[in-house]
């Protein structure tokens, strides 16, 4: 597989402005990933009940919802981990059918899993390229699938440098890293290979305050390189700090998409838990 940095698709934010002014929510941006009327039933339980979803170019979209609202089922459908019973998933305007996470990955959708899916005894470079190693050229080398360690090391160093993850040596084992640095490796891996979308499941859940902030910064850098990011999180301050729009999932459907720059955390939680109906929100609070 060819390893290439992602081209800049959206201009980086103006560094002279505070972040919320520098990045106005992009209303006219192209829709990258869309889902219409997704239904998923497990026996008598309906996890998704006609859920819609829309991810736009160059944004960080947070997906929040109470337990049982169907947010993880929604994300699993988008990352290929489950196959929905009904509904449509549309990537770049074309309907797609994911049979497995590998399938979704072939379409350029990378997922960072909550439980830090890394092989701790292996090196950072090996983890970055796990399952898609760079092979040496030549017939015999191809046949034996001989890996090009030197190139993998170089590419790993470059991609970690791009994301400003200051790890000295790519040949050290992942287990020598802190939790935040490990998450950094997982994020760098997905950012390096994703062509369309990065999905992050609770990326800051296992981390302390400082490391959590570091990962948030990293996620912004991924977006600023032009990759839209879907982030699932229970951590409301983190969601409000990082998201461009917030998708509120409730009772298996999308209740509302809100603008974190205008809505309060209290209103967001109220809609999420059903204490407030989405209709009660002012148009200003909704994302367009």
């Amino acid at each position: 597989m060819e390893f290439r940095p992602n081209p800049q698709r959206t201009p980086p934010p103006n560094p002279d402005l505070p972040l919320d002014q520098a990045r106005q929510p992009v209303t006219q941006a192209k829709v990258v990933l869309e889902a219409r009327g997704l239904v998923k039933r497990y026996g008598h339980v309906t996890a998704l009940d006609g859920a819609d979803f829309e991810l736009r170019e160059g944004e960080i979209l947070a997906v929040i919802g109470d337990n049982g609202a169907g947010k993880s089922t929604l994300i699993k459908a988008l990352s290929g981990a489950i196959i929905p019973d009904e509904g449509q998933i549309i990537l770049d305007g074309k309907p797609v059918h994911f049979r497995s996470p590998l399938d979704a990955r072939r379409y350029g959708i990378e997922t960072v899993y909550q439980d830090l899916a890394v092989a701790p005894a292996m090196t950072i470079a090996e983890n970055l390229f796990l399952g898609r190693e760079i092979l040496k050229p030549g017939l015999l080398a191809r046949l034996l699938r001989v890996i090009d360690k030197k190139r993998m090391l170089e590419e790993a160093t470059n991609s970690m440098k791009d994301l400003k993850i200051g790890i000295r040596s790519m040949s050290q084992a992942v287990e020598t890293l802190s939790g935040g640095q490990r998450q950094g490796v997982a994020v760098a891996r997905s950012a390096a290979f994703a062509r369309h979308v990065v999905i992050m499941d609770e990326p800051t859940a296992a981390l302390g305050v400082k490391e959590g902030n570091m990962v948030l910064e990293l996620i912004r850098r991924v977006r600023d390189r032009g990759l839209p990011v879907i982030i699932i999180s229970h951590n409301m301050p983190h969601v409000f700090e990082i998201a461009d729009r917030i998708h509120i999932q409730r009772l298996g459907r999308r209740a509302a998409v809100v603008n974190p720059r205008r809505i309060s955390m209290a209103h967001t939680v109220a809609v999420m838990t059903g204490a407030m109906s989405p209709e009660e929100l002012s148009p200003d609070e909704l994302a367009h």
Binding site: P101, L102, R105, T111, Y113, D115, A117, V118, A119, P120, A121, M122, E126, L130, G131, R132, E133, L135, L144, R145, V146, I147, K149, T157, K161, K164, I165, G166, I167, R168, S169, M170, Q172, E175, S178, G180, Q181, G184, M214
Partner: protein
């Protein structure tokens, strides 16, 4: 993570320190060195090329079996069927050649096919029926033992054709006489070392042993890797069988009784973790040689063989303790 340094800078002392092999890598070397020093002081016959050649011949069969065992243990599994599967393979080779009169090389091929088939069977039961490797290989161990006894009627096969004995042939290197079998063993170790460290399937084997879930999520066909590992292990048991026949010149239905523990001993002494995902194939060769050196040295110094078994047991427990402690720390 705050600071950022460019790669390829001058190695600082700390970077050099990180490159030093860890204790699990150095451990086997140190143990071997100490044992060699000790026995050299105890017996003047110990430190000679001829004696080392002998030690290598003595560890030959266990050494090749332990290649398969290392592959299996690296995936986080274990293979208890090693010895008896090899024994069944040797019976097929010798009886096919002597009693059925098949061409010797074809007989060898049949024997290796049987051991490889057993490896494949182990792999199938582990990946498809999802049984634990310990139970599966305990079962196939007994099946292989029983089949060996039934097929051979507990009779030793003698009068083997030369081709079956090929690996027992020798050549001279200066004063030292070396068998081709020893050369084959070392060649096999180097080959597997290359495959494990330099190829994608080799790295996948480590990943499957280290974190199967992560490996699966990264798109590695973990079940296929496991199936292939057990099958290839079976192939090595067949080759070890041929080496055994070459060394003993008979097909012995009672072979393979002690090899299970001996291969696990070699793997563990060589610094490979029983938890999977960590270790080196060349460490296993060292581990096998360490056991051989202790056996040989204790014999030369006139210590009863019961003590050799005792010391092997102590060594294994020490090695596993080191493994467990390093896991707890990490």
């Amino acid at each position: 993570m705050a600071e950022q340094r460019s790669p390829g800078t001058v190695p600082t002392p700390r970077r050099l320190l990180e490159r030093l092999p860890s204790i699990t890598v150095l451990g086997p070397f140190v143990a071997l060195l100490l044992a060699v020093l000790f026995f050299s002081a105890q017996s003047d016959r110990f430190l000679s090329g001829q004696n080392f050649s002998l030690i290598l011949q003595q560890v030959l069969v266990v050494g090749v079996l332990a290649i398969g065992q290392t592959l299996v243990i690296l995936t986080g599994g274990i293979d208890l069927s090693v010895g008896f599967v090899m024994a069944l393979g040797t019976m097929v080779m010798t009886k096919f050649a002597v009693e059925l009169g098949l061409p010797p090389l074809l007989s060898v091929l049949c024997g290796v096919a049987v051991t490889t088939g057993f490896g494949f069977l182990n792999g199938l039961l582990i990946t498809r029926v999802k049984l634990p490797p310990f139970i599966v290989t305990l079962g196939t161990m007994n099946i292989a033992f029983a089949l060996t006894q039934i097929y051979s009627k507990a009779q030793t096969v003698t009068g083997l054709p030369d081709a079956l004995l090929f690996w027992g042939n020798t050549f001279r290197l200066g004063e030292t006489v070396i068998t081709y079998g020893v050369v084959l063993m070392i060649a096999l170790y180097l080959l597997v070392w290359f495959l494990l460290s330099e190829t994608a399937p080799g790295r996948h084997l480590y990943a499957v042993g280290n974190n199967p879930e992560a490996a699966r999520l990264m798109g590695i066909p973990t079940q296929r890797v496991l199936l292939l590992t057990y099958t290839v292990a079976g192939l090595f048991y067949g080759i070890a069988g041929w080496l055994l026949v070459s060394r003993t010149s008979v097909g012995d239905p009672n072979a393979g009784q002690t090899e299970n523990l001996e291969t696990i001993t070699a793997v563990v002494l060589g610094g490979t973790s029983l938890f999977g995902g960590r270790g080196m194939i060349l460490g296993t060769l060292l581990g096998a040689i360490i056991v051989g050196v202790f056996r040989n040295g204790l014999t030369l110094t006139g210590v009863s063989s019961v003590y050799q078994v005792l010391i092997t047991g102590v060594l294994v427990i020490l090695a596993v303790t080191a493994d467990q402690l390093s896991k707890r720390r990490g």
